[in-house]
């Protein structure tokens, strides 16, 4: 290696450190906060590595039975909204791609630009009128605002790149459109469906704004539950940070393990809901 190359290498690694350190340091600090007793969290200068680790913070959060309820609520809302979005969105993406009906994507663009709150006002009234406000149904339905455009958008892009020859051959052999979709197009599209699934799950799981308006005491999802903890427990940082970490941990693990799919999906669609 020439000196010039060595300097280049050092410069590159320094840049890499500078770039990733805000993310790494933040999440390490979050972990540190969640594992400290109050006395350490209230210390100045701050304690970075505590002498006594407060596993109790996690135990307390997990032990409260409300937290379990909110966790199940989150699972139902995200699961329901993602499943419904895949059921209607994957065929729609296929149809739009095959008809080359690109103008219909305008609706998705409008959905992308519209502030989440403007859906909430009319749908809030509608759910109130239908008497659904005490249940999880309104949240599942309104999360479709987030998940359906993501799924359709990613599936259009995916089906446009899959080859037509097999499908045409199957059509000539007398298969129906539905059979072609079910047995030819769908199996090839599995990686695309995985991308759509992962992104829909993440953005639905993270959603906050719909929950604060539509959720009652029993129907809160985890982000809303954590937000409500702030106002009541202003000074107990340990359990708060532990709760925050538990809420976001599934998403962070998904991000690291499905990094390739997420990058592919975001680069192609660059969609975010809400």
């Amino acid at each position: 290696m020439t000196p010039r190359q060595i300097i280049g290498k050092i410069g590159l690694w320094l840049s890499v450190c500078v770039i990733v350190s805000p993310a790494i340091l933040f999440f390490l600090w979050m972990l540190s906060l969640s594992l400290k007793f109050e006395i350490d969290n209230a210390a100045y200068p701050p304690v970075f590595f505590p002498e006594h680790i407060a596993w109790k913070n996690y135990a307390d959060v997990l032990a409260s039975n409300r937290f379990l309820t909110y966790f199940i609520n989150s699972l139902i809302v995200t699961g329901g909204a993602t499943a419904l979005a895949l059921i209607v969105g994957v065929p729609a993406g296929y149809g739009i791609a095959r008809m080359a009906a690109h103008k219909s994507a305008i609706v998705i663009l409008i959905a992308r630009i519209t502030p989440g709150l403007s859906y909430l006002i009319p749908l809030f009234l509608l759910f109130q009128w239908l008497g659904l406000l005490g249940t999880l149904v309104p949240q599942i339905i309104i999360h479709l605002v987030v998940t359906v455009p993501i799924v359709i958008w990613i599936m259009i892009g995916y089906f446009e790149t899959t080859p037509m020859e097999l499908e045409e051959a199957a059509l000539i052999d007398g298969a129906t459109r539905w059979q072609v979709f079910r047995h030819v197009a769908l199996p090839i599209a599995k990686p695309g469906i995985a991308v759509a699934f992962i992104l829909a799950v993440i953005f639905s799981w993270n959603n906050f704004v719909f929950g604060i308006v539509l959720a009652g005491r029993e129907t809160r999802t985890l982000p809303v539950a954590v937000y409500n903890m702030i106002s009541f427990d202003q000074l107990s940082w340990g359990p708060l940070a532990a709760a925050a970490l538990i809420v976001t941990l599934p998403v962070l693990l998904l991000t690291v393990f499905a990094q390739r799919q997420i990058v592919a999906g975001l680069t192609a669609g660059a969609v975010k809901g809400g």
Binding site: S15, I19, A92, L120, V145, V247, Q259
Partner: protein
């Protein structure tokens, strides 16, 4: 086929007919379920919002048609006008800073180095993490007495700040969080652009002895401009609508120093339950976003034209 249709329009009709018969069922059945959903949760709310904005509509009392008076009320609502200012400042900063840092990060991630995929996964964690959870930890970090940020500042000799607890620093502090959170998205889009650049210009630049900055400024930057524009557009749309971070950290405070249009919209609709007026804000808000997007498109076109003009 298209040449044929153009030359003999009469024959084209008889030509198209058998083709249709060959593929009788269309693709519409695939789209219909999604269409119903989109109509119900996207189109219906829009139509209903416009209708509500023309009414005096408060929860618990009767509604009356008032025409455009909700819109007129907006023009003389100081809180709304102030919110527009906050939104614009917040948006401009939250577009420019991630664009700068994201481009730098993309150039670095475009190089080959060990563990690149894993580190890229770490790097995009801020944008994937639950915003409320992040906001909570940032709130603790912003704490004037016990927060880690003031401690870090003290290490380099900067006096402690009030961060989100002072009207003058609240918006820059929130922009810091927004930048930390969304720089990765810019990075990913620009990285996609870098992957599409041919290698020839770099080879000839190396022969000519150009330094790193010159290579970036005169080769990379012009070539990734379209991607920077897309990233800027997406960032603008998201920053204008930013809600979770602001709401969870400051709720628009202190006072109303960080109250953006979206936060004000929330207060009007779901704190005061003034749904008619809230709907009017939602409509104006949407039009403002479309207007900003149009301005960006126009600026982009002007830029392309001046580039061409300066080349000629």
């Amino acid at each position: 086929m298209s040449a044929l249709t153009q030359s003999t329009p009469g024959a084209a009709q008889s030509d198209a007919a058998p083709e249709k018969e060959l593929r009788p069922p269309s693709y519409w059945p695939f789209v219909v379920p999604a269409l119903v959903v989109v109509l119900a949760i996207i189109i219906f709310p829009w139509v209903f919002t416009i209708w509500m904005s023309l009414n005096e509509w408060k929860v618990g009392s009767s509604t009356t048609f008032v025409g455009f008076s909700n819109y007129l009320r907006l023009t003389s609502d100081p809180r709304f006008i102030e919110a527009i200012g906050h939104t614009l400042v917040y948006t401009v900063l939250s577009v420019l800073l991630p664009l700068v840092f994201g481009t730098f990060a993309a150039v670095v991630f475009h190089q080959k180095f060990a563990g690149r995929g894993f580190l890229r996964g770490i790097f995009i964690m801020p944008m994937m993490a639950t915003p409320v959870a992040i906001a909570l930890v940032w709130t603790m970090m912003f704490h004037p007495q016990l927060g880690v940020l003031n401690y870090l500042l003290s290490l380099v000799g900067i006096p402690p700040q009030l961060w989100v607890f002072h009207p003058a620093t609240v918006i820059p502090s929130l922009v810091l969080v927004e930048t930390w959170q969304w720089t990765p998205l810019v990075m990913l889009i620009v990285l996609g652009g870098l992957a599409a650049i041919p290698t020839e210009p770099y080879e000839s630049a190396q022969i000519d002895g150009a330094n790193l900055w010159q290579v970036f400024r005169f080769i990379t930057l012009p070539l990734i401009m379209p991607f920077l524009f897309i990233a800027g557009m997406i960032r603008m749309i998201d920053a204008v609508k930013s809600f979770d971070i602001i709401f969870a950290i400051t709720q628009g405070g202190p006072g109303s120093a960080s109250e953006t249009i979206n936060i004000y919209l929330y207060s009007v609709a779901f704190t005061y339950y003034d749904l008619g007026y809230g709907s009017a804000i939602a409509v104006v808000f949407f039009l403002l976003i479309v207007l900003l997007a149009a301005v960006m498109l126009y600026a982009r076109q002007r830029m392309v034209w001046t580039e061409i003009a300066s080349d000629a």
